[in-house]
């Protein structure tokens, strides 16, 4: 963590110190500022709030909203729900994995993409579906994948 990150974490803790039930808001704010929750930040939050590190670890691993490793600029969610599965979503996922050279759950080293799977995006009529950030991409075919990813590589 960089020095100014430490300062920022310290400020967040100070702002909430003494309140009840501060842990979740503190973690959320730290994640907002740093993009994820590095171990050092967790240690600082533990010391700052006087809570056991094991308890904080319990909380951050319990809630899906917390990320323990850096996130890519873009989050890809590939649906693996039943409808998409029937329409070959596994092969779509394989393709993305091979293009980005990462596994589902991982982030590319250049921090462009984080790849995740979900169990139904609620748009089964478009199956197979994936989402990149807030955009849906439906009726996917293997040859469209690279093009879509390329759109997000710029900038």
């Amino acid at each position: 963590m960089k020095t100014d990150d430490h300062v920022k974490v310290g400020q967040i803790i100070d702002r909430h110190r003494g309140e009840d039930g501060t842990l979740l808001p503190v973690l959320q704010e730290v994640q907002e500022v740093l993009g994820y929750l590095p171990e050092e930040a967790l240690v600082e939050v533990a010391e700052g709030l006087g809570l056991a590190l094991s308890r904080i670890w319990g909380v951050v691993t319990f809630y899906g909203q917390f990320h323990l490793s850096p996130r890519g600029k873009n989050t890809i969610k590939v649906c693996q729900g039943t409808a998409c599965h029937v329409r070959g979503s596994r092969r779509i996922l394989d393709k993305i994995e091979s293009v980005l050279e990462i596994q589902s759950g991982q982030t590319t080293p250049n921090l462009k993409f984080t790849l995740e799977t979900v169990r139904c995006l609620g748009t089964c009529f478009l199956a197979p579906v994936m989402m990149v950030n807030r955009d849906y991409f439906g009726k996917l075919t293997l040859d469209r994948i690279e093009g879509i990813l390329n759109q997000f590589c710029k900038g």
Binding site: E39, L42, V43, A46, A52, L53, S54, R55, I56, W57, G58, T61, F62
Partner: protein, 903 residues
Amino acid sequence: MRKVNLIINGTKLTVPEDQSVLQAAQSMGIEIPHLCYDSRISPTGACRLCVVEVKGKENLMASCTLSVSEGMEVLTNSERVKKARKIILELILSDHPLDCLTCEKSGNCELEKYAYQLKVSSSRFLGERSIYPIREENPFISRDNSKCILCGRCVTVCEEVQGCSVLDFSQRGFATLISTGLDRSLTEGPCVFCGNCLSVCPVGALTEKGRKFEGREWELKKVETVCPYCGCGCNIELNVRNNRIIKVTSSPESVVNQGWLCSKGKFGFEFVHSSDRLTSPLIKKEGKFYQASWDEALTLISKKLPQIRRDFGPDSMAGLSSAKCTNEENYLFQKFMRAVIGTNNVDHCARLCHASTVAGLARSFGSGAMTNSIGEIEEADCILITGSNTSETHPIIALQVKAALRNNRARLIVADPRKTEMAELADVWLRHKPGTDVALFNGMMKVILKEGLLAEEFVGKRTEGFDEFTRVVKEYILSQVEETTGVPADLIKEAARIYAGSERATILYAMGITQHVSGTDNVLTLANLAMLCGKIGKRSCGVNPLRGQNNVQGACDLGALPDVYPGYQPVDDIAVRRKFEEAWSTSLPDKPGLTVMEIIQAIEKDEIKALYIMGENSALSDPNSSRTRAALAKVDFLVVQDIFFTETADFADVVLPAACFAEKEGTFTNTERRIQRVRQALSPPGEARADGEIICSLAEKMGQPMSYSSPGRIMEEVASLTPIYGGVSFPRLEKGSLQWPCPYPEHPGTKFLHRGRFSRGLGKFHSTHYGEPAELPDSEYPFIFSTGRTLFHWHTGTMSRRVRGLNEIYPEALAEIHPEDAAGLGLKTGDMVEVSSRRGKVRAKAEITDKSPPGVVFMTFHFREAAANILTLDALDPIAKIPEFKVCAVKVKKVGESREKLG
């Protein structure tokens, strides 16, 4: 407590309203299966195996979290309940490796037990299984999450009892598992390796790493005995197979420790089987040791000692007894010195730790021991700890303090220069300068007098010397006390008000108080404070010296002291002496003998020619130890009896191999005056013999046989001569421990002293004056040097450093230096420093920490490579003759750069 009536399985019963249904059922002998409940910790209701049927309720209820209520009707074993329990077990088993064939827990596993009881052999719910790697990146504990049933006991124990919160639930749903913060290894977090999580784990998820494939549970013989390390005197069970200790356990019913242990008690037994145990007598010839037979060795000693006596008189000989040996052995040792040799020159290491307690409390109250019991601390509402790093030196007493803070919301006052764990937990922390204790506590008493917070009735009825005492205390001016001690006056006032205003206030102290030239005055001052506020002679109050060694209390009780026979009966009291002369059929010397440090001085002056040391390592434990070493080298004839070839043995003419605590029968007396049975679990290695046996054979060789058919017989003799042990006998101890005074066989023993009347009649106030420590920093030696201990080692390390795991966790000596001082010296953690005093120098790694205040350097004395006692001062308290281990002046120099990069 209000009582309620209820009906369990058709039987009516009445129980206190705060009980759970599970407890109520247990009280009538009905066992309800349970996996997460443990009576010593808060129930969580996690496993649901304890469900019962309650009339009028549709759902089955978990009985461990269900409070009893008036008119409740409960069925604990109905068909519905049985069916539900079976399903719960099947669900647990569906995600459990049925590994019982090689599982270390098998035979003692609660899951296995209930599966058998409820006839559940497999699960209908076969499905995905959670499989995790076994985590063993630490010396002691194996964690197998695949076997974890998520009962949560370990989490609760670590948080509630130990106060460490190392473990918690992480992840969720099917993936839920117990893990440490950041999923690190146990060595990387706040774990203190007490092993208490392991001892409550109902299954094989947490097991002792060292017991792997060393024997099935049912092959282990459990021998109930007492921990050989500290004065807490925890009850342990040695689990033995093929004459080897496989593991140590402790029963939840243990009076002293409720089954909880610390790292030394739980994991520190490996030294017993160390390959370098002494196994045969050794005789030194021309500077070299040769193996000898017992007969040769004893013959040599039995010739030498009488010869020296003939030439120089009996007082040319001295003996050091051992606070590690049993009561019976200490009794024999002092009897040997007094009756066979004919001298009162017998002392032991209590001189170096609590001589000032024995002297001080005897003067104030008439009895020099802990006034109250360990179990009472939990119920105190104010605890004043001073000069005790309780979490590290008396871990089980620290658990009591933590329980009082947690359950009782007790206020904690800590007066200590060091930032110990207790200081961090304190409501008020008085960080006074080392050696200014008298000023600090007189300052507190000044506040109490001025604000009229004293217990006037108590002072009037039960004490004497009050007027003179107030005259002296009134002279103290708080602003000056602030100046002397470095503690802000407001904090002193706050502490005074809390202590005086609490109902059950207890004082706990240890060597930070006693090991000073003003040691006796420090103790007298604390006694004054307790009397002034009437906090003595009552439950959960008192003045409580925490004694260090497992049996230092007993060694004192049994007369291994130069001025008293067993039971603190003065050697210069004619009636007492007559009694012992008659019992031992010999005439006895009438003048008190020499103390530890005086013996060393007498050797220098050629007055002592022979020294017999049983189980002490004076070469490392004495202050200014170079001087002790020179004396050990000089004395004409030195016998050392020990379990290892210690630094002291090196100087001996004859070395005798002794049996250790696990290899003999007897008793230890813990710090709360509790006499407990020590039992033999193993046969001694080679030709080693119990210390008591050795003394008896030697006496016999010298023509004055002392023969007893068993240690129980020795206790009979002790009881007949020692009023405070008068009612103690082995048959009684078989049924449970006894706390002295226990004057006659029907007496139940004494939980706390001085109820209604002090041992000396009236409690006596003593006027104490603050005096400076003997050696203060100056321009040449600018730092104060102080010594102490760590949780993971014991004294001179003879035992604990032969435990690989403890060495792994705490491998070397560290010199603690404050960051401000380190900046001035250009030091960082890991640099090698040379610490020197006027008496010598040692090298150690620096640890830069704010644990000690600026200007103070702190070291432990466990490490022979960096023997802190080379530096310490042998200035003595004039009354108790205890040396000032806690303050001397040193300088610090950097001699090597840390090899580690700064992170």
